[in-house]
């Protein structure tokens, strides 16, 4: 696969006088983090596969301000929100999909009061709707029968009550879905939220991602499925920390679907 994938931008759409069906909000991780970029590309491939008319903001996108807000920097958050809302409203965006639960939560819940009203979906919910509309087919392929556990991202699950969409997608892959002791509304955080991703943890006797990885290992999965770039990083580090590389993989749900399709 040498050729670059086609990723139209809003600016290009605007120049052609067209509007896309949905804006794909890539997010900082999805744009810059080497691991998360793979998720971004996998999701874009699925969008193409389902013939979704989408665009990204590209260089006009900027951090939603989530880490700043949760670290206590309300000022920086609202500055980011104000500039992003200017851009989004300028393009008359109605529908947004993102592969990052932190962006999802902020855009969906915290932007409306500041003048940004959009229908915001997490990519797992969006993929599920494509499936239901018959635009995307999900088949087991190489994951059929594999033992998989889903790690609930806090900002998708508890924060917004999305528990079933990612699981429904995994079931479509005909995997053996096993639940951790702490799952859904009781799920344990990966340790990255609230700005922790960008700082050293406070003194303690263990890192949160190790604790969570141990919980995952209790159910002996071949793959830990995730729906968040931060969780993905934390769980990947956790698996390395427990010397389970090669035995347990950490994959985003979108990557798994794209892989099953050999995209």
């Amino acid at each position: 696969m040498a050729e670059a994938i086609k990723v139209p931008t809003m600016a290009e759409y605007m120049a052609q006088g067209k509007k896309p069906e949905v804006l794909f909000w890539v997010g900082c991780s999805g744009s810059f983090d080497d691991r998360a970029k793979k998720i971004t590309k996998a999701f874009v491939k699925l969008l193409h596969e389902a013939k979704v008319d989408f665009a990204v903001l590209g260089t006009e996108e900027s951090c939603t301000g989530d880490p700043a807000k949760r670290a206590g920097n309300e000022f920086l958050f609202q500055m980011q929100a104000a500039t992003n809302i200017e851009v989004l409203n300028g393009y008359e965006i109605k529908k947004v999909v993102t592969a990052c639960p932190h962006c999802f939560n902020t855009l969906k819940n915290e932007y409306p009061a500041l003048g940004g009203n959009y229908e915001v979906m997490h990519h797992t919910t969006f993929l599920k709707s494509l499936l239901e509309e018959g635009r995307l087919k999900v088949e087991g392929g190489k994951f059929k029968g594999k033992r998989i556990t889903f790690h609930d991202p806090c900002y998708l699950g508890r924060a917004n009550n999305v528990y079933e969409a990612p699981r429904d997608l995994l079931r479509k892959l005909e995997v053996e879905l096993v639940e951790m002791r702490k799952c859904k509304s009781n799920g344990l955080c990966c340790g990255a939220g609230g700005g922790q991703m960008f700082k050293e943890p406070e003194p303690g006797n263990k890192d949160v991602n190790i604790e969570r990885t141990e919980q995952a290992m209790e159910v002996k999965p071949e793959i830990i499925a995730a729906g968040c770039p931060f969780c993905n990083t934390m769980m990947t580090d956790g698996v390395k920390g427990k010397n389970q590389e090669g035995k347990i993989e950490v994959m985003d749900v979108a990557e798994m679907i794209a892989n099953a399709h050999d995209l």
Binding site: F32, P67, R70, G72, C154, R158, F198, K199
Partner: protein, 392 residues
Amino acid sequence: MGQSKMVKRPFSGFLHIIVYLGFIIINIEVLEILIDGIFGTHRILSFLGAGYNFLIATFEILALLVLLGVIIFWLRRNVTNIYRFLGNELKGWPKNDANYILYFEMVLMILFLTMNGADYQLQLNGADHYAQNAGIAGSFPISQFLLPWFEGFSNATLIIIERTAWWLHIVGILIFLNYLYYSKHLHILLAFPNVYLSKLTPQGEFDNLEAVTNEVKLMMDPDADPYAMPAEGAEDEVPEKFGASDVMDLNQVQLLNAYTCTECGRCTSECPANQTGKKLSPRKIMMDTRDRLEEVGNIINKKGSFEDDGKQLLDNYILREELWACTTCNACVEACPIGIDPLSIILDMRRYLVMEQSAAPSDLANAMTNIENNGAPWPYNQMDRLNWAKEN
């Protein structure tokens, strides 16, 4: 019954339902006890006949179940090693407080059953004032087993036992009601308004500070005059303080949360930071807030108004290390059966640290500088944001 979140932990949740139902239902009997006491009647509600027998039998069974439940609670707290009852913040008064409540309830239930047993024996003996023409008033499925203890007691002795139990029971209840205000047990009253006032929006939605919104709007307004004179009378206005460093900066719901907390520790046992040995404990955040509020209240009571005592909630009670350990995962909020939100206090205190003191941990401060400069928490150029599409 309003207990759905309690049974997320089935065993303690089930026991709590029993004690809760016992508390509510046995209170009907307290009404009769009070009327009898004031008017010198005996079992005034007994005209209800079979219905009355059913009620008394229900009270007795509940009293026994409450007694057993409370004993199990005591064992859980004092004998078994349950993580959430071992926290540092429970040492001293909070642990004693919890046990006093349990002792109170044990004694009250024993007195209630003793009173009924002696009363039943007196009715059987046909004693004046106790015996009724219509036969035995009440049904005593539990206290009947106390009768062998009373064998050979004269009516006079039985009356002393019954009256003593009656008086201790009612006085005990009245003392207990007054004790609530010094105790974590106040949740039996405040849980109701607290749940009513709890947050209904998605847990992930944090409030947007309006004062900040106004500042940002002003900053982005090309027509705003940077040299504008303040509006008439505006010189006297105190600029809005961002975030919270003391209880005065918290809102009423947050303060109600603090008084409502009954220190069960479900929040702390679900907290990822606490589970991995960090200092943060959401329960301690609530207890500290309440303790500081009490302290501020005492100063106001003594001096008429608040005077600076050189202390504040931040640093003197809640340490920065605790605040920075939070992942904002909402597990504590989800765990609380009565809708307490420790996270909102943590966030308000972080806001104070960052916006009033610029005191974020340096790594985090770097990430925020990056967001300001190049729109991402890492130092990547915003113009490179779409490079991933060209990479393979």
